[in-house]
Point group: C2
Chain length 211, copies 2
């Protein structure tokens, strides 16, 4: 915690600001999160945000960049060393990792859902920079599974939003879930059970005979 090292004290500060920004942006939306609130949560003064980032919009982009980067690296790490495994198993593993990541990082879909409600520059940037590559990857996987007869040839838009909606919503709405059901959706047992259900959902509910 105490700044010890040579020069790069700014890197720790930058990280603290990014983490605080991610929390507040995801929880209170872009407009609802004030730069003063982010600064307070990060333990710094407000003008420091403008020293490290060009402005509020730029800070938001940096936080979102950082979040998607974590998703990519964690997914790659999870799937590394899987040579020769059949694609159905890989698909199940990816869905499972997606659910677990959504539980460990509820900010991801909170921000995505927030921005996706409204067309605009932030949504355009987020989609083209971060979401589309994931979507294209998922679509390609859907198509390979459908060609093998493992998945019904349902339009990818349906499958994609069924997957993200079913897998992430309960973690996005964790405070409501806690209050409404008394269940903590971040509890490891709940996350594991939910991942099982979503995997079953996507793989079994859309097998060829079913739809």
């Amino acid at each position: 915690m105490t700044t010890v090292a040579s020069r790069p004290a700014g890197l720790e500060t930058r990280r603290a600001i990014l983490d605080a920004a991610l929390d507040l942006f995801s929880e209170r939306s872009f407009d609802g999160a004030s730069t003063r609130g982010i600064a307070e949560l990060a333990g710094v003064t407000q003008p420091l945000l403008n020293y490290h980032f060009a402005g509020k919009e730029e800070l938001w982009r940096a936080a979102v960049d950082d979040l998607f980067e974590r998703l990519r690296t964690s997914m790659q790490h999870r799937l590394s060393g899987l040579r020769g495994v059949d694609e159905v198993t890989i698909a199940k593993l990816m869905v499972r990792h997606f659910v677990e990541f959504s539980a460990a990082n509820p900010q991801l879909h909170r921000i995505i859902m927030q921005e996706s409600k409204r067309a605009g520059a932030r949504l355009d940037w987020m989609v083209e920079t971060h979401v589309r590559p994931l979507y294209e990857y998922a679509v390609a996987m859907f198509e390979r599974l459908a060609a093998r007869g493992e998945l019904a040839p349902v339009a990818p838009a349906h499958l994609y939003y069924l997957l993200t909606g079913a897998g992430a919503t309960v973690f996005v709405m964790a405070p409501e879930c806690q209050r409404l059901t008394g269940v903590d959706p971040f509890a490891p047992e709940f996350v594991a059970a939910h991942a099982d259900l979503v995997v079953d959902l996507l793989i079994r509910a859309t097998t060829k005979e079913s739809v």
Copy 2:
């Protein structure tokens, strides 16, 4: 449009304000929607909001009341005149109506998701006033279906958020869906197909043998 009638000119204004408030609150969150923006969308001046409603918070509550009231009445209307129909059919019909209502009124889950991200007075009020009755009804239905062997005895929190997440997310995120996939999720064919998938998902993916 032109105010014809006797006295209640205020009722039309009140309705215009409520509609505008619902659109902006759901799209830009409570903090992101300004009273001036709502007034402009409603075609009135900003102080008029404080004449018809006690304040921004009160306006938000009135708009949410109105929205949930529409959900209740439309559901009752859809289910009226269904005597002697077996419960599985009723359940399917309710899921279908839920998806269709979510498509016709994307504000519903936009507001629910927005407020559910963060504990607070607005979430508490919304859950206890509007969400809990729906949840209790759904849980009772899950339990009856499970007792008949039509549904696996999965914890209701999973089923509830699978249903709402799978059924509503694509409409909440309609602008992203449009830009990402080129598909308009509000198109009648898309809504119908999505409702089919969700019904299948909930009824078939959780039959006893599956989980």
